[in-house]
Amino acid sequence: MSPYRETADVAIPELAGLQRRFLLIGAAGAVVSLLGAFLNLTQFLQSYLMAYMLCLGVTLGSLALGMVHQLSGGAWGVVLRRPIGAATRVLPVMTLLFLPIALGMHRLYSWTNADLIAHDELLQHKHLYLNTPFFLVRAAIYFLVWNTITYFLNAWSLEQDRNPDPRIARRMQHLSAGGLLGYGLMITFASFDWLMSLEPHWFSTMYGVLIMGGQGLSAMAFLIATVVWLSRRPPLDRIVATSHFHDLGNLMLAFVMLWAYFSFSQYLIIWAGNLPLEIGWYLHRSHTSWRLVAVGLIVFHFAVPFVLLLSRAVKREPSLIVKVAAWILIVRVVDLFWLIAPEFHQTGISVSWLDVVLPLTLGSIWLGCFVWQLRGRPILPVHDPEFEETLGPIIERGAPPRPSHG
């Protein structure tokens, strides 16, 4: 056990500086964004919602991937467990950061407008669900469920570090099974509430699944970038092997395909049906200058990463796969932008400087918290039930040298 322990406990000296830098950028960004809020509060909230959904996506996507790994096992997840844990522990901060959306909901969601409801039969029917108090109660329930799962998984993971009792692993598995159900149900309704109801007449049964797929993809891309960064420094430079990147690359490829599958299915069915209640959503997004973004998403969110990730060479070369991962995080923002912004600018593309500043600001704050959490615990879960089997031999022998990129 002891060589593992020593390896796991190695501190990574760069992290402290990184945390400070991210938090400083975040603080500076927050000042600039607040200025933006005074200039144009509505625009601020729209951009904020987009940035928030991106950061929440990485957080919850990591939570979901962590729970999937608890149930499925696999070497890919053992090296990810600590970054996943750190990402999920940002959730309390994300909970606080929901406040601007809750406070500003009357500017974001047209169904809160009583005058509009008075003249709209459909909205009167939906009022039972789409009303301010119930919206807030639901949000509270979502965060309660997510935070509870996160809290216990992380607490038990810490306990597992001290105590190799296999019962702890089993307890985590049981929670993960129920936790995945909880995550799935909550994020489905959260996506209806926070995103779909921006256009209160529109509905799509696929929407929750689509958002879940996007969160999984964002988290996967972020985690791959993190592992590449960590693998360049001790102690993980001797441990993370080429095959790990290969597996992670394949998982990211699977998520790219899932996203495309969900998006295309939804589009095809609504396009073919061409029903007045449904098609409007796509008309704003594809028959105005927003079409440019839509086509861009097909090419850059699907085709380009898909082709790149098919290549074995790309998946096995950390310096290449990290570029694909970073690219995916950028197109994830564009995808969220395309889901949200056309609702407020139905005639054509409109980009505000806040659409750039807010993702950077929230992203930096999120990263600062993530690095802070990552520093708090050993970088490897030495008592993971699969640890000895998957990483033990590598630690004892050292990772096989990675083929240099040729």
Partner: protein, 486 residues
Amino acid sequence: MNNVADHVKDDARHDHRGAGAPGLDEDPLHAVVGTGKPPVIAPGHTFSTVTDKISAIVLTRKTSLGWYAGFGFSFLLTLMLFASVSYLFVKGIGIWGNNVPVGWAFEITNFVWWIGIGHAGTLISAILLLLKQTWRTSINRFAEAMTLFAVACAGLFPAIHTGRPWLDYWLLPYPNTMGVWPQFRSPIMWDVFAVSTYATVSALFWYIGLIPDLATLRDRSQSKTGSVLYGMLAMGWRGSAHHWHRYETAYLLLAGIATPLVVSVHTVVSLDFSIAILPGWHATIFPPYFVAGAIYSGFAMVLTLAIPIRAVYGLEDFITMRHLQNMAKVMLVTGLIVVYGYMIEAFMAWYSADKFEVFVPYNRMTGPYAPFYWLLLFCNAVVPQTLWFKRIRNSTIALFIIAIIVNIGMWLERFIIVVTSLHRDFMPSAWGRYAPTFWDWSTYVGTIGLFVALLFLFVRFLPMISIFEMRTILPEAKVDEDLRVI
């Protein structure tokens, strides 16, 4: 090379006796000792016992009376299918219960049910192979056979439901003197491509996987006819390094081709409904929800078949509790996705605020077909929740009963989707009812007969478990890391 192999073999045998010996953590026998999971192959087997045990079922075991009885009965049902279809061709589809407004009923329900069942075979053989799940090895062969027979039963329904099956080639796009082309925007057209591709790839995949085992049967067959027939089917397989190299490449390529089919086929089937604007059919969640449903029903069918087969032929060593438990878990997960689909569909129907949409779940829950709807929820949503408990997953009888209930539930699901959406659509004056006739039932039951009869033949004449792949998961087949250097 040979020396090393022998050395390893001895070494492995040696370790093998002392279960849980260190240094063999990766092999399936030992990996399980610590985790308390049952093994994927019972301890004590060697290359020759595996080969003997599986090939004996085909070559030397006396064909039992039970086999004759089972095959005979299912063959009678197959004859009933032939009779029903013949009568259908003579009289036309008026002999079925279909009529306005329910123009699609049993035939499409059965088609979707059968094609869904096939999906488990493809998932097990292709996706689990690519995911390096060694436990798939002992169930993939007969799961693939199941796929093939299920697709055959499924393909029958669209072919006969046109009423003029001698004109079925009109479904294919070809330049003709009438200048008529199929409607390429119609998912029914896509179905033709999806299902025919699926049938082709499944057949190829299954056959190519069989070749090394057919050669084994050729070499071991006691009778002249047997060795000639198996020899022809084995296509000159000699087991040379060259052959194996080609074989591995072909098999992996086919697995790659079959993988998207697991998703695409049922996606296209779901589009048959969701592309239409009928409330109850037109829902964007349909593609992933149908795919999950297909895998769900497919695993239920694999369990339904595997549990009696392993008991009758004494294959508990190869199809272990581990396989049954894993399949139960897959059923639980896909079943929950299906339940998610039901829930979101019902919620969104209400949320849409469209009165026809709102009416659909209301009509399903309280209308003339309500008992079937509640039964469907009981079968698909309630009963499988018992699979959360380890004790249930450990009981073959419980698993068998649950699997059968899920088979029924998944059939009911398709029936509810098809019939309740059609029978009361927009105008109450155009509402109607559907009830199956004798011929609806005889055709459906007949396809079950055909399916079971084909399975009986398969079990009797072909190795139902892949012999050579089973050998690869034995400890003997594992090469020790340190010796590989040589």
